[in-house]
């Protein structure tokens, strides 16, 4: 797979990284968390979600958890994902990039907001 897939980081991938910052989630959990953190503006469909998950896993920014302690036999098996330290770093870098962008926007007086 080409490396450029995550460079620049697509906003869906960034949102997924952010959604996993707090806790490990499965696919549907990620979708809901992303919807929540974007105020319902971004509803990831299965295709977008899992292709992002695929790229993020390949780049080792997230990892799939092999086991869940609370998993019971017979239950629907769900795959949980966790943010790796590398993923956290990428998310932080992206947040810093956006913060820098906001700073510029403020100096150009096209945006007035709290200090970021």
């Amino acid at each position: 797979m080409p490396k450029q897939k995550l460079h620049p980081l697509p906003s869906s991938a960034f949102q997924i990284l952010l959604s996993l910052a707090g806790e490990d989630l499965h696919g549907y959990g990620i979708m809901r968390q992303v919807a929540e953190q974007t105020g319902g503006r971004m509803r990831l469909g299965p295709g977008t979600l899992y292709s992002s998950i695929q790229s993020l896993s390949e780049e080792k920014l997230i990892e799939e958890l092999n086991l869940r302690e609370d998993e019971k036999p017979g239950q629907e098996r769900r795959r949980y994902y966790r943010l790796t330290p590398a993923g956290r770093k990428v998310a932080r870098t992206e947040a810093e990039r956006l913060a820098e962008l906001l700073r510029v926007a403020r100096t150009k007086k096209i945006w007035k907001g709290d200090y970021v």
Binding site: M31, P46, G47, T48, N66, T84
Partner: protein, 491 residues
């Protein structure tokens, strides 16, 4: 019905994607159907799905295209390699056979001609006691050969949160660490030493440059180190070095000089390094080993005078041993004091350190871990429901072989004045590097995290954790028992 339609639509995706995520995508569809009921919700769901298909199907095909060129199309999260085929159908049997014959013929030529060729010995790894231990013994040989002045008995760090589960901490505690019997560098016959040719040298240096740029905690310093290595390469400074260990030692020294960071390491291993990630096979082996060894809880008992005694030889993987740890702690809930015997504990998973420590506090407590960034995970999940140990005296027994994760446990409890450390000074392995495998023989450790140490600048790196009560490791238990008795009598 709608599920079937969606299942059918999923066939638009490349087969590789479907095999990996098809079931998950369906599951997500089912979840949404279950949650989003009503006409408008259903309309919105289908609009979402169609938009999603329109965007993601072409993207998937765009990304599948280059896969065969890259040979291996990345790895699945569980570590097994996967390949993508462009067609939805698998190749015919005849083509597969022809392919097998041709590749066998092609492979036999280099195998016959390259004297140093060593196949990847996964089967051998299965029999080695330190199977999941990295770096193999030669890590220490590299250290010795490099004369870096660092203690030869250092263990390498692990950061299980990354897929670096390949680290040494997976070693079942029963297996003796290989470091003890590691041959010294000088003792190795020259013939055996790995020779490194120009192409490999170049590849290793470039991989190091790329890894540092991508992972090193300080990007500015990373750039500086990268420029330094490339400058040396251009100047031809590496051309004369054909010995893998010597190359690794030189690169380590140069990186450390340029960064002033003693945690950077380049490692050469004569034996092939494990590929990264915890394969299901190795995980299964680890699970069996843990079951046989009661999850490294060698003893959990109540000593005379109602002293809870817990001999723990590793901090095992929490998803496998979480229940065992909870049970062990619960069985000592009514003791008047707890002695943790970590004299044979070589480390383990920080999550398990946190899980056990959580029982000892009635409020979340910050546990400094030099290997990880400070996050919400750095606080214990205290109070633990039902635990009655938060106000009981705690003693930790240590020895010179108490290592790594066990030092994390000892250091933090000592600094928090939550435990009295009895025994010998610990091994002193606080590395904050994460291992990156470069190829079968080279790897490197790169610090990626910066944690806040509330107890001052230095931790136990190189120095070990100093016990509060210094006695020989062999006398630590009896000393601690006496201390507990004195303390309990005073009450």
């Amino acid at each position: 019905m709608s599920e079937r339609i969606y299942a059918w639509l999923l066939r638009l995706y490349p087969s590789c994607f479907r095999a990996e995520y098809g079931e998950e995508a369906l599951q997500l569809f089912r979840d949404r159907c279950r949650q989003e009921r009503g006409f408008f919700a259903a309309m919105r769901l289908w609009l979402d799905l169609l938009a999603d298909l329109a965007i993601s199907v072409p993207r998937q095909y765009r990304h599948v295209q280059p896969a065969p060129i890259g040979a291996s199309a990345g790895r699945r999260p569980d570590g097994t390699p996967s390949f993508c085929v462009l067609e939805g159908h698998s190749p015919r049997l005849g083509s597969l056979l022809l392919g097998a014959v041709l590749s066998a013929a092609a492979a036999s030529i280099p195998i016959g001609h390259i004297a140093n060729y060593r196949p990847f010995r996964s089967a051998l790894a299965a029999h080695s006691p330190g199977y999941a231990r990295w770096p193999p013994t030669s890590f220490r040989m590299t250290q010795a050969a490099g004369g870096s002045g660092q203690s030869g008995s250092r263990d390498f760090p692990s950061k299980p949160m990354v897929a670096q589960l390949a680290s040494g901490f997976l070693q079942p505690p029963g297996a003796q660490p290989q470091s003890q019997e590691a041959p010294r560098a000088g003792a190795r016959p020259a013939v055996e030493r790995g020779n490194v040719g120009a192409p490999e040298r170049q590849r290793v240096i470039h991989a190091i440059v790329a890894n540092i740029k991508q992972h090193y905690v300080d990007p500015m310093v990373a750039e500086k180190m990268a420029a330094m290595l490339l400058a040396h390469e251009t100047a031809g400074d590496y051309n004369a070095i054909t010995d893998g260990a010597a190359l690794a030692a030189l690169l380590t020294r140069q990186l450390r000089d340029a960064s002033q960071d003693p945690h950077l390491d380049v490692v050469y291993s004569q034996a092939p390094l494990h590929p990264p990630g915890l394969t299901s096979e190795r995980l299964a082996r680890y699970r069996v080993a843990m079951e046989q060894q009661n999850c490294a809880f060698e003893k959990v008992e109540v000593l005379p005078h109602n002293i809870g005694y817990l001999k723990l030889n590793s901090f095992p993987e929490p998803s496998i041993c979480g229940a065992a740890a909870t049970a062990a702690m619960a069985s000592l809930n009514d003791a008047d004091a707890i002695i943790f015997d970590l004299r044979d504990n070589r480390g383990g998973y920080p999550e398990m350190v946190m899980q056990i420590a959580a029982h000892l506090f009635d409020h979340p407590e910050y546990m400094y871990n030099p290997r990880e960034n400070t996050t919400e995970r750095s606080w214990t999940a205290s109070p633990v429901a039902g635990a009655r140990l938060a106000d009981k005296p705690v003693y930790v027994l240590t020895s010179g072989r108490t290592f790594s994760g066990a030092e994390h446990f000892s250091y933090d409890l000592k600094m928090l004045k939550r435990a009295t450390i009895v025994g010998e000074r610990t091994g002193g392995a606080a590395h904050s590097g994460v291992f990156h495998r470069i190829d079968d023989h080279f790897g490197m450790g790169i610090p990626e995290a910066r944690a806040i140490n509330p107890f001052g600048k230095s931790d136990w790196e190189g120095t070990g954790v100093e016990p509060d009560v210094k006695v020989k490791a062999a006398d630590a238990l009896i000393t601690a028992e006496r201390l507990v008795q004195t303390k309990l009598k005073k009450k």
